[in-house]
Structures are given as C-alpha cells and as structure tokens.
C-alpha cells in the first residue's frame, strides 16, 4: 500500500506539472534541504500540490502540508489522500470543540524533523482582495519553535485554474515565487511578526496590468 500511495503522490505532482507547467522562482533563497515552514497565499485546494511540485524530490519527501481535519477527514477518498498520499499534518480548525491544540500538533511535527507547508489566511481566499488577513497560528508556531525559518511562497494563477465550485481545471501557466526566509525576532510582538510575514508574502505578488 505504501507503493500505491507513493505512486499516487507522483501522479498528483505529474498532473499538476502537466496542467500548469509550474515554474519555481527561487528569489530569496535556494532549494536547500533545511527545515523550513513554507507559507503561501491560499485560493485553491491545489495550492499545497503546487508548492509541493516546486520542491526537488528529496525535499518534497520531508515536507508535509498542514490541512484542516474538518475537510480532509470527510469521506474515504479525501481521508486516504490526506493521510496516506500527501501525509498531511491534520489540525482541527474548530476552536471550541477541538481536543488538541493545533500548535502542539505542528510543533510535534517540527520536532520530528519535517518541513511544513501552511496557509496563514486560514481559509481559501475567494474574495477580490489580494491576500486575506493572517491568523495568529504562524506567530504561535514561531514562538513555540523560534529556530524555525519561515519562507513566503507566492502562488500565481492557480485560482484561475480551478475556481471554487468548478470541476474541470483550465490549463494555465502558474509560478511559485519563494522569498527570503524570516525568523521571529527576540522581542517581536504578535502583530509585528504577522504584519512582517504578510508583507513579505505580498511583496512577491507580481504586478500585472488588468
């Protein structure tokens, strides 16, 4: 079954590449095999696949996307994809009923030595705004594991490939732009860190004329 899951993962990456011709632009750092938290803008379920596909295979193998268990544990197929194929770190987004602190779950994954892919907006952006406000999770993770470096990744165009509610994807060229890694400064406040990390991501968005 392990082979099947790994085959499914390669198929997923191959499909994403064939459809979007995804091109990684390493603007602020190189694709090094160091422990990182990649954080990106979120507009499509395929976002993590695109970041994943942009990473060289050895790094990809040790990078796990963080996903909401409320969505990914529904139904056998989603559950299989989330737990076996992409090996996601699942967190409970519903604040009131959850049994585990999501930051503790992430910190545990970090202590196991893997890199993470997170989407600090918390949910898919279906508005006209370029980027939604960040949730505080990214700060709390940085506080729990201050040695971690956070790499902003701007995903361009994927929201046009498969808008919310559509089934058939449109082939369009996508890029992922990797920015300069940042770390939580010693005396940095929550608001300052969140703003700094959000601006670092926004700075990677290409300015195209409409």
């Amino acid at each position: 079954m392990r082979i099947l899951a790994s085959l499914a993962a390669s198929t997923l990456v191959g499909f994403a590449r064939a459809l979007t011709g995804v091109r990684a632009i390493w603007e602020g750092c190189a694709p090094e095999d160091v422990q990182r938290v990649y954080y990106g803008n979120h507009s499509s379920h395929g976002d993590f696949v695109l970041i994943w596909s942009s990473l060289p295979r050895p790094i990809r193998r040790r990078t796990r996307p963080v996903a909401g268990s409320d969505y990914w544990l529904q139904g056998a197929l989603r559950r299989y994809i989330a737990t076996r194929v992409i090996d996601a770190v699942l967190i409970d987004r519903a604040g009131t009923t959850r049994e585990q602190d999501p930051i503790a779950v992430l910190a545990q994954a970090v202590d196991d030595g893997v890199s993470l892919i997170v989407f600090p907006e918390g949910t898919r952006n279906t508005t006209d705004a370029v980027l939604l406000p960040f949730k505080s999770g990214i700060y709390r993770l940085a506080l729990a594991r201050p040695h971690l470096e956070f790499v902003p990744v701007w995903i361009e165009n994927l929201n046009r490939v498969m808008p919310k509610g559509e089934v058939v994807p449109i082939p369009l060229l996508c890029t992922t732009t990797f920015g300069e890694p940042l770390r939580l400064a010693a005396d940095e406040t929550k608001e300052a860190f969140i703003e700094r990390s959000r601006n670092a991501l926004l700075a990677l968005a290409p300015r195209v004329a409409q």
Binding site: G21, R23, N157, R160, P163, E166, V168, I170, P171, L172, L173, V208, A209, Q210
Partner: protein, 314 residues
C-alpha cells in the same frame, strides 16, 4: 530521389547546419567569452541547443507520419493557447468557455484535420466556436468587460489553434504528381519561416542600424528585415526540389511566408508589450515560450496553405 532519400538528405543538411552553429557557438564561448558568463553568447548557445531538440522532435513526429504530425501540432496548439490565456484577462464566468476551448474545440479541430474534412475544419472555430463560446460565457451572467473577454478567448483560439492547425492541414492537400510527399510541404514551410527568423536575427545583429518598430520590437531593423527576407527567398528557391513548385514559384512562396512571418512576430510583440511581458513563457530555453517560437508560423501557415491549395491542389 525517393521520398525516403529526400528526407534523409534534408535532415542531414539540417544536422550539418546545426553542427556548424554549435561549433561557432562553442568557439565564441571559448575565445570571445573566454569561458566566462556572457549574455548574448550564452543565449545563442541556449537557442542552438533548443534547435537541436526541436529538430529531433519534428523529425520523430514526421517519422510517425500523419498521426505523429497531428499529435505534435495538437500539443503545440495546447501549449500556445495555455500561454495566451494565461496573460489574457478572464473571469470565473469564462470557465466553461475556456474548458470548451481546451478540451472540445482544440481536439475537435485536430480530429477534423486528421479526417481531412476541409469544409468543417475551416469553419469550426470562425463560425461554431465564435457563436458557442459567448453563449457559454453568457450563462454565467457576469457582464463585466464581457465583449473584451469574449474577443480575447476567440482571438487566442484563432491564432493558437486555427492558424497553427493549418500546418498539419498541408497533409490533406491533393496535389497532382505530388502524392505521398505532402509532409515535405510542412518541412518547406517550417524551414523557410524559422530560417527567415534566424536570418533576420543574424542580419540584424551584423548590420542592423535602422529600427523598424522600436515601440513594438526594438530588435527588428530594416537591415535585418531586408537581408532576412532576401536570404529566406533564396533558401526557399533552393528547396524547390522538395516542393511541387518551380524555382520561381518556390522563391515567391518563401517571400510570402517570410513577410507574413515577420508581421506575425510584430503583432504578437504588440500584445506582449501591452501586457508588460518580455516572453510568452519559459518552456524553450533561450527562446522563451512556445508562442515566441511559433508567432511567425501562426501568420504564415494559413496563407501558405490557401495559396498552395488555390494554385496547385485539385
């Protein structure tokens, strides 16, 4: 010569030109750039490497006959349409029209070319897609910049699918005493149009002084245009033996192809400039995207097809 011998001679000649280009590129890198990074020379070498790949890919497609050629240009259209739609302004309401363009009209157009149904493949996109796509877009009830969006999708489909599909459509022409050799018309068109691009580039680099359209394409010069056109005409005349044309006819055809190719490059440059991009994509190293390589073919192919059909085919 048999058709097989002709093909071997042609590809040996193309291989010879590429070997020559590669040696020149290597010498430039070794003695002019002294092995250090050098913008123009490295770009030249990247282009030559890409030419090797393109010649091999086209050669393999031709070896597979009609099916190979149809599949190859089907993919060329797919990549070109993807590049075009990527930079066009579309909205969520265009989703159905775009899905139909990629997954219905593109394959259907190439199927009809395969089938040789001239009456249908020459009107599928200008008539049926032209009416069906705005209907599909209107169903979403999003009227924001509706005409502009509809026009862009239609224009993209015309350039990248309709025009490019006229290259493999050359195989469907029935020319007396030319049966079984139609694939060589494709070789003629591609060699002249790409040769003209390269020759204009070379003449422009060597003698270019007066810019033709500095606001659209700063690299195009009068000297490059005239030199490229004349040498492409000579190239076409020299290739008359693979065509159904006499020498003077082959020369005129080559001139026509080169002129249209030039303007194809100019028009697609105007679109790039308006969108603030330098290249259509990055899939062919040193050249940019598929449309950067095919821009001249898109304009030359349909006209070459129709002129040949009108004067030479049954």
């Amino acid at each position: 010569m048999t058709r097989h011998q002709e093909t071997v001679v042609l590809f040996a000649a193309i291989g010879g030109v590429l070997v020559f280009a590669s040696v020149v590129g290597w010498l430039l890198k070794r003695f002019v750039a002294k092995g250090a990074p050098h913008g123009s020379i490295d770009n030249l070498n990247a282009r030559i490497r890409a030419w090797w790949v393109m010649v091999v890919v086209v050669g393999i497609a031709l070896a597979f006959g009609k099916a190979g050629v149809i599949v190859l240009f089907g993919f060329v259209s797919f990549f070109a349409l993807r590049e075009f739609i990527t930079i066009a302004y579309t909205r969520r309401g265009d989703h159905l029209a775009l899905a139909m363009s990629f997954f219905f009209f593109l394959p259907l157009q190439y199927y009809l070319v395969w089938d040789g149904w001239y009456g249908m493949y020459s009107i599928l996109i200008p008539v049926y897609a032209f009416l069906a796509l705005p209907i599909a877009a209107s169903l979403s009830q999003d009227s924001t910049r509706f005409l502009e969006r509809t026009a862009k999708v239609q224009w993209g489909l015309m350039i990248t699918v309709y025009c490019i599909s006229h290259v493999p459509a050359l195989l469907t022409l029935r020319i007396p005493k030319y049966e079984g050799r139609e694939a060589l018309l494709i070789v003629f068109l591609v060699l002249v149009v790409q040769g003209s691009d390269v020759l204009q580039y070379v003449w422009g680099k060597l003698f270019g002084r007066h810019k033709i359209a500095p606001q659209l394409s700063p690299s195009k010069t009068v000297e490059g245009f005239v030199g490229g056109l004349l040498s492409a005409t000579v190239l076409g005349a020299a290739l008359y033996w693979i065509t159904p044309f006499a020498v003077w006819q082959a020369a005129l055809m080559a001139l026509l192809i080169a002129v249209l190719g030039f303007f194809g490059g100019l028009v697609l440059s105007a679109i790039k400039r308006d969108r603030g991009i330098k290249d259509w994509g990055a899939m062919i190293e040193g050249h940019g995207g598929m449309l950067d390589r095919m821009d001249s073919v898109t304009f030359a192919a349909p006209i070459f097809f129709h002129v040949t059909r009108f004067f030479f085919s049954l």
